[in-house]
């Protein structure tokens, strides 16, 4: 089955009110080209599930978001995501704030078809008081109570990978795939943007196949977009764009999101975006971060 599609094809699969999971972590390997396409679409009232960064911040700032399910929203080297902050401080979004691991449990439960996964994580904290719908249950095996972390079922997952073939076999060459495999498995449909489009025989080598973290029957569509994670990183190919993120953060104080969007997003396709930020060669030259 040939699963290659365009960015427009992905957006055509999205409808108002969907729950969308976004892979990556903070400023790392976010499917930003797909996020920009959503920002340029009419889709709204989304519930966003993410280990959040600028993906969450931009969608909130553009008024696309009804609710965010999150453990953090951060750009790492800029700890506080400026537009997510503004959305929260204006009270304009609903939230379900959970521990990083609870979020993983929720995705795993959805992936496995379980209504919940029991965990001690969250006990004694405001994760429970602020999410009264998260139930605490008695264990049948001991006298302790447990949090029943509910499944977080996704309508759609959006992730960005290093390489993929036309059948939806996806490879992540970065040191870590983060939780992308669980976002993909938890979703009815998973759309992948990829730096490189490879022939299927690329995976004949075990060292390549070892970097495939989910099976192609969980991949719905593949879009070839080199540089598509910018301004987030896509290790080992490029780092995150520090200067771009600094300007993005400044925009939150000076003029708000509309100025940033006017410059980099509104009515622009990915080619125009990449020209505006310095070109694909510039993106691919961005130094990898040192932690």
């Amino acid at each position: 089955m040939n699963k290659l599609m365009s960015i427009a094809d992905v957006v055509a699969n999205l409808t108002d009110g969907m729950t969308i999971g976004i892979g990556g972590w903070g400023p790392r390997r976010k499917p930003m080209a797909l996020i920009r396409a959503i920002l340029n679409s009419d889709v709204k009232d989304l519930t966003i599930v993410a280990y959040g960064g600028a993906d969450v911040g931009m969608l909130c700032a553009a008024g696309k978001v009804k609710k965010v399910i999150f453990a953090f929203v951060s750009l790492d080297f800029i700890p506080l995501e400026p537009f997510f902050r503004q959305a929260r401080q204006s009270g304009s979004i609903e939230v379900m704030e959970v521990d990083e691991g609870m979020l993983l449990h929720g995705l795993r439960a959805a992936s496995w078809g379980c209504p919940f996964i029991p965990t001690a994580v969250g006990l004694g904290t405001d994760v429970l008081t602020h999410n009264p719908d998260i139930q605490v249950i008695n264990s049948p095996y001991d006298d302790k109570e447990w949090v029943a972390m509910p499944a977080i079922k996704l309508d759609v997952a959006l992730v960005h990978v290093n390489s993929a073939d036309q059948h939806g076999v996806c490879q992540i060459n970065a040191p870590d795939c983060f939780m992308d495999e669980w976002f993909v498995r938890a979703a009815d449909k998973a759309f992948v943007s990829t730096e490189n489009l490879v022939d299927s025989d690329h995976f004949y080598q075990a060292e390549q196949a070892n970097r495939v973290h989910w099976e192609r029957n969980h991949t719905t569509g593949v879009v070839h977009i080199p540089g598509g994670a910018h301004p987030t990183s896509c290790q080992p190919e490029y780092g995150f764009d520090v200067e771009h993120f600094k300007a993005y953060s400044r925009a939150a104080k000076e003029g708000g999101f509309s100025g940033y969007a006017e410059q980099f997003i509104n009515n622009q396709d990915e080619q125009a975006y990449q020209s505006a930020v310095g070109g694909l060669a510039y993106i691919q030259s961005l130094a990898l971060p040192v932690y």
């Binding site: 953090f72 951060s74 004694g124 605490v136 302790k144």
Partner: protein, 271 residues
């Protein structure tokens, strides 16, 4: 008898005090979040607890801690194993970990907040990071806290605005749990070192940094503190410790962590 051979900064004194948190951890994963806690864990591993485990803050376990900041091209980090983000939880929830973080708020129960400030959760006054992994850390393994600016905004009255981590609060203790299930260790601040071993798990001062008085610590804390009987001065860094700190912080990032980078012998006179 210790002979003073070198000057040291308050940041260096705090690194050495924080390293003590990891002294008896044995073969546990030590996670110091932020420049000074990370240097503390590195120092502990290089000196009195070589069995400590550390990560590269990304996806690998390290046999030797990485120095902070840019490293030259010849540097090869000493990977011990892969440990991706999802796998970190498997280790965290097994209990064999000790994390040291710098919360925005700490209350008298040892509960902490890094999520948001303000009384209205639906519309916080200041949105911060989110709870991150604190709920899981706090109920799974040992935790210590690092406070670069000890004041009443950090050590708050009442409870934290958003309780991100479980502490010694009887009102919030889950069914079947006791205080023995919760393990909060040291609090290292720019004024003193404290633990939670006072009566009923009250916060207790166990050493004062040079020039600091107990009264000064109490004045900068919104709830009542107690102190150990023979309250003395926080141990000064040794020449060996200072050399190791310099090795792991070649760009002197530690100098940027405490406002004004005060001298270690003059902690009490800082603004």
């Amino acid at each position: 008898m210790t002979v003073e051979t070198q000057q040291f900064t308050l940041a260096e004194l705090m690194i050495c005090a924080a390293a003590e948190a990891f002294r008896n951890d044995g073969e546990n994963l030590a996670t110091g979040i932020g420049v000074l806690p990370r240097l503390a864990a590195s120092l502990a591993k290089q000196t009195f607890n070589p069995d400590l485990m550390m990560t590269d803050s990304e996806a690998y376990m390290l046999a030797q801690p990485n120095p902070l900041g840019k490293r030259d091209g010849a540097f090869v980090q000493a990977n011990e194993s892969w440990m991706g983000f999802a796998r970190i939880f498997d280790n965290v929830w097994s209990g064999k970990r000790h994390a040291m973080i710098g919360p925005t708020q700490i209350d008298r129960f040892g509960q902490t907040n890094i999520s948001a400030i303000g009384n209205d959760y639906q519309q916080p006054k200041i949105q911060m990071l989110g709870v991150r992994g604190l709920p899981g850390n706090s109920i799974s393994h040992a935790n210590s806290f690092f406070v670069p600016n000890h004041n009443k905004k950090v050590f708050v009255e009442g409870e934290c605005d958003v309780v991100c981590s479980i502490g010694y609060n009887p009102e919030r203790l889950p069914k079947g749990y006791s205080f023995d299930d919760i393990d909060i260790r040291l609090v290292i601040t720019n004024l003193c070192v404290m633990d939670w071993n006072g009566p009923n798990k009250q916060l207790r001062v166990i050493s004062l940094h040079p020039g600091v008085t107990f009264e000064q610590v109490q004045e900068n804390t919104s709830f009542a503190l107690c102190k150990i009987a023979d309250l003395g001065e926080t141990a000064h860094p040794t020449a060996e410790q200072l050399a190791i700190i310099r090795q792991f912080d070649p760009h002197n990032q530690r100098a940027m962590q405490i406002k004004g980078n005060p001298d270690g012998l003059a902690a009490s006179v800082q603004g």
